[in-house]
């Protein structure tokens, strides 16, 4: 007790001394002008890290700011320049030279494992490599394990495909970009989450609500942007190997090399496989498909004072094999002896980004993004074949500058998107070519970082569906130091791909039918409101985030699995007639329990409804399938400096979701009763990981689904898979039980 008192006394005394010494920090900010001249920078935002105590430089580039008790890191932020952080001790009268950014887009300071970007007008959560290391495995789909906004689950019990849930809706309504280029879309949306290995990822930004108009019109509920490891990264070599007790093995190797002052090249590679047949629930079906994936990127980067360019190639091969444990494709494919599932995917992508920089006007930039990809996928589900091919061209020309001063910025440009689809399901061939030229303008007004307005508008002309406008608006207001309010609204549009997006339902005896008119594009309006509050309580720093988002569909592709008759069970696709909406509410609390212990607690509520029953002349507002209404997430992490020891535990509780059962649907049809409303169980998922760093390498050991919860009977009619009521698409919980893994990471820095 006495020592505690002493500590408090000493702390108070030192705090007093600090205050007495408080004084102010002064300095001047410059930019380099030619080789040895420099000129002052006016209007640079300067603030203490993790506080909003700030100022801006005057007309001579000078600043004067009171010292802060909470932070000794001074952040300098100026559009077009690299954000700079200086550690301030006792010195004063700084002379700081800021360096031009050399690329379009914002640079954000990243410290803790995940954080909310307080200056971004769009509510954005940043997942850093530190948070990614909390779950050792394996690819993008596992990267959201400790994120409360994004959840990922298996779409069915056979294929291993994973689906995002975000603001109550599926991953297809989120624009998933890799370095600001829309990537996981179209046919790639089925398995796309497993196409980005975790070791390639540098950081992930999760933006909620209507996104920016710069990257297109397809973001409806939000945008996820993945930044990959860059060729000029400090890590020259990064090697990771992973193995789990089910027999999955994985190797990743990243190599980066600076060739000269201006040129750098990088290789990101990945190979993984599972060849062990696992059937823990004894239903005669593999719990996980056997698979092999090879995946790689080679990228070249050029950076000079005047321009920046990068180009490269991505290639992917994946082979999946699932179904009954006895199934051998060479012997049994096309026979009724065993039910089998197979998928082979090849994907190749060429990409390039070029930016012209203006040394004397760093806020100005001109960038060109060009991408071409070819995606080929061949599948079979028992006797049913489904093949798809997608060719895509994407180009985006962006110009950014200011109006008078940096308080008024704008981005404008033109882009073009070409999608060429060719799909065959059973005997029917479906082709679709979409050609969409468009133009956009986005204006940003920023007042002392206290108030920001982003107003964007784009106009596109779709060759099949005509012209349309996409307006979006974001407001950010920081009335007090610790409070940030955000408001957003905007329109989104996309063309659905029924087979790729509802792939899991194809592993069934259902008869696929498109009902009524041809499928129209999906159109949404999304509105959101959020509050970010930081406060001190019990001597600790807390972050509270509250948000509410609503998505209203003007048109939607309705997927109806509710119906079965004595002749068949159905998978209906039709255009929405009536209402469809999603309400999402989330509350999240983060704190540092001690210097080394980080805690997160979050609750989220989804309320998602749509009008269904059209093929039967009904119009019933029903809950969207497979969306758990409630979810709770708890995460506690303990870290020693330089990650000598790292312990992490995540507990998720998932509430009930609406499901269907073809047998019960059939009974209801026979009894002439309304379709039964069924719910899944709620369940808990526990993951934990420990890792220990040594000088040259790091080892980790972890477990997923430690409570060993398994969905009972994930496959309906598993014993008779050629039955028309067979259904493996009703998966709401884990199919595999507890899983233990271990691995090594080796990093060689310069």
């Amino acid at each position: 007790m006495k020592s505690l008192l002493q500590t408090i006394l000493i702390l108070t005394a030192s705090a007093l001394v600090m205050t007495l010494r408080a004084q102010r920090v002064t300095g001047t900010v410059f930019e380099r002008n030619g080789t040895d001249k420099k000129s002052p920078l006016v209007g640079v935002n300067i603030f203490w890290a993790e506080t909003s105590l700030g100022t801006i430089t005057d007309s001579l580039g000078k600043f004067d700011i009171a010292r802060s008790a909470k932070s000794n890191r001074l952040v300098l932020r100026y559009i077009g320049f690299k954000t700079d952080t200086i550690r301030v001790t006792s010195e004063n009268n700084f002379e700081i030279v800021m360096k031009p950014e050399g690329q379009l887009g914002e640079v954000v300071i990243r410290g803790t494992s995940s954080q909310i970007d307080r200056l971004n007008p769009i509510q954005t959560e940043i997942i850093t490599t530190k948070a990614l290391a909390k779950a050792a495995c394996c690819n993008l789909s596992e990267s959201f394990e400790t994120n409360a906004s994004v959840s990922v689950s298996y779409s069915d019990a056979v294929t291993g495909a994973k689906q995002i849930q975000f603001l109550g809706l599926g991953g297809q309504y989120v624009q998933t970009n890799v370095e600001n280029v829309p990537t996981i879309r179209g046919l790639a949306s089925t398995f796309g989450m497993s196409y980005i290995p975790g070791t390639w990822i540098q950081s992930i930004d999760v933006a909620k609500g209507a996104g920016s108009v710069v990257n297109g019109y397809e973001s409806m509920t939000g945008a996820i942007n993945v930044e990959l490891v860059k060729p000029d990264a400090r890590e020259k070599l990064y090697f990771n190997t992973y193995v789990n007790h089910l027999g999955r093995g994985e190797v990743n190797l990243n190599l980066n090399r600076k060739l000269s002052d201006k040129w750098a090249t990088g290789f990101l590679t990945h190979a993984s496989t599972l060849q062990n047949r696992v059937d823990n629930n004894g239903d005669g079906f593999l719990d996980l498909p056997l698979y092999t994936q090879f995946n790689g990127i080679n990228r070249w980067q050029y950076k000079s004072d005047k321009m920046m360019a990068q180009f490269g190639v991505k290639a992917l091969y994946e082979d999946r094999l699932g179904g009954q444990t006895g199934f051998r494709p060479d012997e049994h494919r096309g026979t009724a002896q065993f039910y089998g599932f197979g998928n082979k995917t090849n994907r190749i992508e060429l990409f390039s980004k070029t930016a012209k920089l203006y040394q004397d006007k760093p806020y100005k930039g001109l960038g060109l993004v060009l991408n071409a990809s070819l995606h080929n996928t061949d599948s079979y589900f028992g006797f049913v074949n489904y093949d798809g091919r997608q060719r895509t061209l994407y180009g985006n020309l962006i110009y950014q500058s200011i109006i008078n001063n940096t308080n008024h910025q704008f981005k404008t440009g033109i882009n073009y998107l070409l999608d060429d689809y060719r799909e065959t399901y059973k005997d029917s061939l479906m082709t679709r070519t979409e050609s969409v030229p468009g133009a956009f303008f986005e204006y940003t007004y920023n007042h002392l970082d206290k108030f920001t307005l982003v107003a964007g508008l784009r106009a596109d002309y779709h060759n099949l569906f005509g012209a349309f406008a996409t307006p979006r608006l974001h407001l950010r207001w920081q009335p007090w130091e610790n409070t940030t309010l955000r408001l957003s609204g905007g329109r989104g549009q996309r063309t659905p791909n029924a087979f790729a997006e509802y792939y899991g339902y194809l592993v069934s005896g259902r008869t696929v039918r498109f009902w009524g008119q041809t499928i129209q594009p999906e159109v949404t309006w999304n509105y959101g409101l959020s509050l970010t509050q930081t406060f001190h309580w019990f001597d600790k720093h807390w972050d509270l985030v509250l948000d509410y988002y609503r998505t209203d569909f003007q048109n939607q592709l309705i997927v109806d699995t509710d119906h079965a008759t004595p002749l068949a069970s159905h998978l209906y696709f039709y255009n929405l007639k009536g209402k469809s909406f999603s309400n999402s509410f989330q509350i999240e609390l983060n704190t540092l329990l001690s210097k080394r212990t980080e805690v997160k607690l979050a609750y989220r509520l989804f309320d998602v409804w749509q009008t269904m029953g059209q093929p039967f002349g009904n119009s019933v507002l029903q809950q969207r399938m497979m969306v758990p209404r409630d979810r709770v997430l708890f995460n506690i992490g303990y870290n020693l400096p330089y990650d000598k020891w790292k312990l992490d535990l995540t507990v998720q509780w998932n509430g009930q979701a609406r499901i269907t059962d073809p047998m019960q649907s059939l009974q209801a049809t026979i009894d002439r009763k309304p379709m039964p409303i069924l719910y899944s169980q709620s369940f808990m998922n526990i993951n934990a990981q420990a890792s220990r760093a040594f000088k040259k390498f790091e080892v980790y050991l972890g477990g997923e689904n430690l409570a060993n919860f398994k969905q009972p009977n994930p496959i309906i009619h598993a014993e008779d898979p050629f039955n028309k009521y067979f259904d493996a698409g009703q998966t709401w919980g884990p199919v595999v039980g507890r899983m233990i893994y271990a691995g090594i990471r080796v990093k060689i820095k310069d």
Binding site: R87, T89, I636, K644, L647, I686, F694, A707
Partner: protein, 117 residues
Amino acid sequence: MKQLTFVVALVLTIVFGAVANKPGKDKEVKIKTSAVCDMCKERIEKNLTLSKGISEAVLNLEDKVVTVKYNPKKTDEAQIRKVITETGYDADNLVCSQTAHDKLPECCQKTSEAHSH
């Protein structure tokens, strides 16, 4: 219920694990180095922290002194200095390992002028 017990047990393990790890009878030593910039600071701190018996290392770039907390049962000052010299930096009167020093990026070598990085 079984799941809940499991969760509670795991949380307790982590919390107590963290408490148990608190340095009890740690000793402290201050060593002058030849660090130049933030990259040097990170390199020295990391290599020290990840060495046996050391719980914390903080380098002050102003006076280039690194303050190391360590468990005297597991390591000693000579060992700690050796870690620094093998990283490529001088430790008090001990001169750095030449091979390690030459492997450092140019900006971190002793001839380099002070700069921010």
